[in-house]
Amino acid sequence: MKKLLNDPRDFVDEMLDGLVSAHSTLKLGGESARVVHRASGTWQGKVGVVSGGGSGHLPLFTGYVGEGLLDACSIGNVFEGPTVGSCVEAIQIANGGRGVLRLYGNYGGDRMNFDMAGEMLEDDGIRTTTVLGTDDVASAGPAERTKRRGVAGIIYAYKTAGALAETGADLDAVTAIAQRTVDRTRTIGVALAPCQVPGSNKPSFTLGADEIEMGMGIHGEPGIWRDKLKPADAVADEMIERLLAEKPNNASTRVSILVNSLGATPLEELFILFRQARKQLEAQGLAIVQPLVGHYATSMEMAGASFSLCFLDEEIEKLLAAPAHCPFWKVSA
């Protein structure tokens, strides 16, 4: 796999340098130089919303720092958790005196690091809470829902928690809305071709020239089945079916859908998928609100796509529509 890069060891630092120099609303901070935060800072009295994760998923995670979204984000090497130190620094930077929500994907390494960071900051008197993104329905059965990995759907929780925090709500309320959003969000992905970690001499997985894998994770974690490529409508139908099979009990008839490219899959194909997804959702009597179609959570040049459904309630819908402004997602009033 060919890549436009220099020394693979500088991949993340150079990428971050480029990111913050292209977007003046972002700043790179911390001794680790692995924390992206709002250039404007977190205002005093605001609950901080922090995320973090490995590199290689832009716009995740750092790209969602901005008004009405994240305050700060710690970022690790490609497909590797952020260091404890960068997590500590992200929390400190996002601290506006009313506590900080740690909102990130459910991966072992990330959890350990954010947990350690939280413990280290207890002495500093920063209260922290945790909400884990667990939206990937392919990564564990419904009975083990809390063990699921977090993937693209986490951006819905960024949006609701970020919007609520912006109103001056307290840490418990911000934590609760993030948790409720995660609880009502489901994602499934399909992979067509792998990516490659810079510096590695092998792709992240192998897949036959005519094969597709349903349910694969964003680092190439194994999915549900692997088979010959199918028509887009059949793929979309199955994805929607699997997501609706896990509709939360208290679901209304309004949903938001995110049709996300894992990287190399172009917008054209996303819109073909969206078209069929919409058909199926409407056939089930569901109304689509604020659809998102594009590159929202990728795995570098991996080919494939994911669908995320956020089953709305009144408050979530209102918070999704609230103004927000980050380099990759803008919502106007």
Binding site: N77, E80, T83, V84, G108, M112, S200, P222
Partner: protein, 201 residues
């Protein structure tokens, strides 16, 4: 025999040198079960630890804490953070003591193991680095010289690797492969075995 900061520094240096020969093999083992980075990550962590100047460390506990800190700066991977967790916990148990006996190593490894269980949420038997440490703690019982200790560590790590090869991984990325992991070496366990063999050999 007693463990000093400079003895610790020399062990770290030897481990760092040892990575050259095994980095790729660890990556390959991880590629089968995980994301193929165990070797690269450990090389990075050990390089950072070897860079750490321990000459100013007043006691072995301080040295271990400094090494833990180096690890957390070098990586955010599961194994790296667990390693830091274990070093920190072991360091805490001997905090302030000027010297520590080799005979206490078994207990220190056990303390590290338990801290890592608490941090990572895995259990003994899940086929992880924890099972290697468990076997190592056991093997270290009764070792009083550094030669005995090195031998015990190597033997404990090798036994654990052999014993767990035929069992499935139950945690982390590897869990998803289920019974597909039977017959494969866990990369974390393999790392302990290879590094211990180099130390002893």
């Amino acid at each position: 025999m007693s463990i000093t900061p400079s003895a610790i520094a020399s062990v770290v240096e030897r481990l760092h040198m040892a990575m050259d020969g095994i980095e790729q093999r660890l990556n390959e083992a991880d590629a089968k079960l995980g994301d193929g980075d165990t070797g690269g990550m450990l090389a990075r962590v050990l390089a950072k630890m070897a860079e750490t100047d321990l000459s100013g460390a007043v006691d072995p506990g301080t040295a271990l804490t400094a090494l833990a800190k180096a690890a957390t700066i070098a990586t955010g991977s599961s194994l790296g953070t667990l390693l830091a967790t274990g070093l920190m916990a072991a360091g805490r148990t001997i905090k302030g003591r000027e010297s520590v006996r080799v005979g206490e190593l078994s207990e220190m490894v056990a303390v590290a193991r338990d801290a890592m269980i608490a941090r990572g949420g895995a259990s003994l038997g899940d086929k992880t680095v924890l099972d290697s440490l468990d076997a190592v703690a056991d093997a270290l019982k009764g070792a009083t010289t550094s030669a005995q200790a090195a031998h015990a560590v190597a033997q404990g790590a090798a036994t654990a690797l052999e014993a767990f090869r035929s069992r499935p991984n139950r945690i982390g990325r590897a869990r998803m492969f289920g019974d597909g992991t039977v017959g494969l070496d866990d990369p974390g366990m393999l790392a302990v075995k290879e590094l211990a063999a180099k130390l002893a050999g």
